[in-house]
Symmetry: C2
Amino acid sequence: MASSIHDLARHLNISIGTVSRALNGRADVNADTRQRVLEAAKKLNYSPNQSGRSLRRGSTHSIAFMLQPHPGDQQYGEPFFIPFLTGLQARLAESGLDLIVVMGAPGDYQQERLRRVVETRRADAVVLAWTRREDERIDYLTEAGFPFATLGRSRSGGTAYPSLDLDFEKAGADAVDRLVARGHRRIAAIRPSLDLNFGYLFLDGYRKALRRHGIEVDPGLIADGFINEAGGYSVTPRVMLAKDRPTAIIFNNDAMALGGCKALAEMGIRPGKDMAVIVIVDTPLCRYFSPALTAFRPALEPMGQRLAEMLLASLPAFAGEEGPRTIREVWPLELIARESD
Amino acid sequence: MASSIHDLARHLNISIGTVSRALNGRADVNADTRQRVLEAAKKLNYSPNQSGRSLRRGSTHSIAFMLQPHPGDQQYGEPFFIPFLTGLQARLAESGLDLIVVMGAPGDYQQERLRRVVETRRADAVVLAWTRREDERIDYLTEAGFPFATLGRSRSGGTAYPSLDLDFEKAGADAVDRLVARGHRRIAAIRPSLDLNFGYLFLDGYRKALRRHGIEVDPGLIADGFINEAGGYSVTPRVMLAKDRPTAIIFNNDAMALGGCKALAEMGIRPGKDMAVIVIVDTPLCRYFSPALTAFRPALEPMGQRLAEMLLASLPAFAGEEGPRTIREVWPLELIARESD
DNA sequence: TGTGTCCTCGTAAACGTTTACGGAAAAACG
DNA sequence: CGTTTTTCCGTAAACGTTTACGAGGACACA
């Protein structure tokens, strides 16, 4: 059914070697012959068998992105990733690479899937997201000598891999600055409970900024929960119990903010009026919520493109294609002022 | 670096044929030998090269899910798909299959990517989502004789493929019934502008139910827009311009509902008080919105599992594993009554 | 004509598996 | 002990590519 390079060769009365060379654009083939091969390939609807090719070449010409649902009830996904993946895929496609997303089961934290991808050589490199403070995946990959790049920083694995992250520290600080400038001094922070690195970075920025303003950090105003609507909903009331109520809340995640605002609404507290609310990572949800939530927006699609570039530059097969080989980059988050603070 | 079956054979002083047979659980190998092979495999951290294996077997042992961002500004993704994919992946993993998600560029409607997957034989079968009324992907796959299954119905390609869909028709009708029972007669419907089949099905149910109640269908109460927050936001005001204002709106999508509620809020109209709102496909957003939105909930994860089963049953290599081979199933949507209607 | 260079192509090996086939040894059977 | 069956394993081909190597012919040059 599927036509192979042999069919093509037979059809043209030339050897498979020549066909292959013609298709792969090598120099040592007559321009005329190449033309005929290309035409025949189109006519016979030929396209090379990926397995045969990658077996011979030792590379799969595809990059794997590890997507994994977090544990927790009703785990819907991260709308977040789609624009990022769009950028990633666009840039990879430019270099003829395919992007495949491998799904993991919720909660297993991908170790198993990752091993599978690496060991069966399904991809030439992987892209990790949601890096943790100490990330065993990174340790595993560096030890295995498998090429990878990360969306997000980590303390694991040295620095010998490309990584791209958002400046959550600065965003946390900026949020505090903004709120302080508007007269707030009781500022709560709500972040994910997992040891996702961006949660730490955010809190660091938050703490430092408070101290800079001479405001004591009150542990009663800091809480963490599942990184979804339910988490925000269940944990927000906790900071409202502080002896001295907060007048502002910074949410480290849009879904948590949604849940948190729900909790506030049930307490009769109106975001943007009775309580200032700022969200660290903007999504369409923030914009269309009522009141529209002030949030920090990342440039997700360009980030995807950039990380693809960085990864490509780190791959021997593609090295030299790009100029600078920056290893780690931290991108700013842009404040979008809306109505909630 | 990576150990091959030859290393294993050399290490054990037996032939590669025996190693392969031992690993693949064939009968004609001594229990003792098999044991030794398995141990050595674990010790040498051997796992078979996927390319070699699939080249020989002619199958990749993986299923592709085609994920594609829709055109439109700020296209964030569908949280929707994650639970579905989780179920799909879980069931496929049970049969030793990998799930890979293939990203397309926004707007190209996947034809190109799909061809690529099929022609390079990257997967043994594909799963399509967001089926259209007439779906060229389905035509292509049936013509190519490539195995596939769809999440969603279509009029294309006959019925010789497994498909699983939600009963949008009934949900549309149920929503109308519920609103009519509560005294509404001016009921608007807002749905995606693309020719996604579920938009049609929903509208069909909506229309039929209205007629059944003796209510004339007013085209001024039906509108469509981009299937995202912006679409809902921009299109909702249109139905408010009808000569006789609606007292209820049914949204065919949660994101559109969010945008629509925003538009209502700006007009001083409060969902659940001044306007009844029902959403057809429930997500956490609906639950945590204020007011919580009455919505119809799908069983996404079981659906993923079920579609995987149906697909497997249709594959020659797995046939007989399952009992019944239902070709098409339509699952109900469960009404979750909340505060918005 | 002899020699060397260049262009183009065919040959064959290799990538890592799986599996049909056959053969040797062991077991079963009379 | 001879014959048949069974058990186990090695051999080698095949899957569809890519690519190193070398050969043949054309051409240039002396």
